[in-house]
């Protein structure tokens, strides 16, 4: 099933982080920005322009959707976003690709270590 998303890979950093932030729970835009800053230890931040540009593409590809129900005490301007099954699949595919890259990198770094006499 992940092979269906191969032509979308590799994902851009913004897309990867947005999908990753939505993997846990539904979030609104500002929540996504905060979650991205949190799980990247503040090393990667996206502005609203970049965020909604990517969300627009993800919604168009049906990787992300807007759930109908929302909290009653929430700001009415906020809209929540949820990862779809397709979005979860492409995230899994990208994670597997990255895992392969990490594994390959580690093995090569291991081989390059100088041996003790």
């Amino acid at each position: 099933m992940p092979n269906n998303f191969d032509h979308y890979l590799p994902l851009s950093p913004a897309t990867l982080h947005i999908l990753l932030s939505l993997a846990g729970k539904d979030l609104h835009g500002y929540g996504i920005m905060q979650e991205i800053a949190r799980h990247s230890d503040g090393k990667y931040k996206v502005g609203p322009g970049t965020l909604y540009d990517n969300l627009q593409k993800l919604i168009d590809r049906e990787w992300v959707q807007e759930p109908g129900n929302r909290k009653s005490d929430d700001d009415p301007r906020r809209r929540y976003y949820r990862l779809t099954a397709a979005g979860r699949g492409v995230l899994a595919a990208e994670t597997a690709r990255l895992a392969g890259v990490v594994r390959e990198a580690r093995s090569r770094l291991q081989m390059a270590k100088p041996r003790r006499a």
Partner: protein, 293 residues
């Protein structure tokens, strides 16, 4: 102030994007103004604005569900019609830019190309090849003629170069030499130094010359000279004392151009019987008035 600018930047986004995310982006601005720099958010909105208009034309117009082809009924084929088709604004803009670019490149190539395949020449008005008209000329001689073999006519052409186009075709009526009964008033010439501006085609086409009424000797006292006007064949000639004889080419019933000169012409003044009693010779910016003997 920055919030107002931010709202303006949001309003300039494509309609579809603005409707979908505008309010939420503004809420983020309101929420994060204390934490993030407002100017950074404004810069982000401007970058987003450029990005949406330049790189996201596919999202400018949302395809409505009604534009999808209807489901096919049993045994009835369904066809897609282009009637509701409306080209994307982005496609129109791209097409316009591409067309203008192609047009400019083509013009540049035509103008500066090594290979001169196209020689585009815009015809201009030229007065050099004036066809001299005198009473002896027949319509067939004049029609479509671009030059004259007569040396006198060539020189006359120069003197009339500001009057007639080379494409002028004139039907000249035959000269009738008969006693003058009535003459029309002379054309109004504004200045001695300015050549007559009577429309030649109209003037000559309706001209009935009565050559006898012009013939005679005209005497001037200032300067003291005599001017003889006679008939040579079927046209008039003029001879100023001490100068060679010249042919006269009519441009109206009382105005004649001196052939072989530059800006020389003669204007006759008739009496009440239609016979010429005075002439004025305009040459080199001066005029000589002579009375008929």
């Amino acid at each position: 102030m920055l919030r107002h600018l931010y709202r303006c930047a949001l309003r300039l986004h494509p309609l579809q994007f603005r409707r979908r995310f505008g309010e939420e982006m503004l809420s983020i601005y309101d929420q994060s103004a204390g934490r993030l720099s407002s100017s950074r958010l404004l810069l982000d909105a401007i970058v987003s604005l450029a990005r949406q208009w330049i790189f996201r034309p596919e999202f400018w117009v949302q395809t409505s569900p009604s534009s999808a082809p209807p489901p096919a009924a049993d045994d009835i084929p369904s066809f897609c019609s282009l009637d509701p088709f409306r080209p994307h604004t982005s496609a129109m803009i791209h097409g316009t830019v591409l067309s203008l670019t192609l047009f400019c490149v083509t013009c540049f190539a035509i103008r500066y190309s090594w290979i001169r395949v196209l020689h585009v020449q815009i015809p201009g008005v030229s007065y050099d090849n004036y066809v001299s008209i005198h009473p002896a000329a027949s319509p067939s001689d004049l029609r479509g003629k671009t030059g004259s073999t007569d040396g006198v006519d060539k020189t006359t052409a120069k003197s009339q170069s500001n009057l007639i186009s080379e494409h002028l075709q004139v039907d000249v009526l035959p000269v009738v030499a008969q006693p003058a009964a009535k003459t029309s008033p002379s054309p109004n010439l504004n200045s001695q130094s300015i050549a007559p501006t009577v429309p030649l085609a109209a003037a000559v086409a309706t001209l009935h010359l009565r050559l006898d009424s012009y013939v005679g000797t005209y005497v001037s006292h200032n300067p003291n000279t005599k001017i003889a006007v006679g008939i040579e064949g079927d046209h008039l000639s003029i001879r100023v004392l001490g100068r060679p004889k010249r042919a006269l080419s009519p441009i109206s019933e009382t105005t004649f151009v001196v052939a072989g000169t530059n800006d020389h012409w003669v204007e006759f003044v008739p009496d009440i019987n239609g016979k010429m009693r005075q002439l004025r010779l305009f040459q080199d910016g001066q005029s000589i008035t002579a009375l008929r003997q």
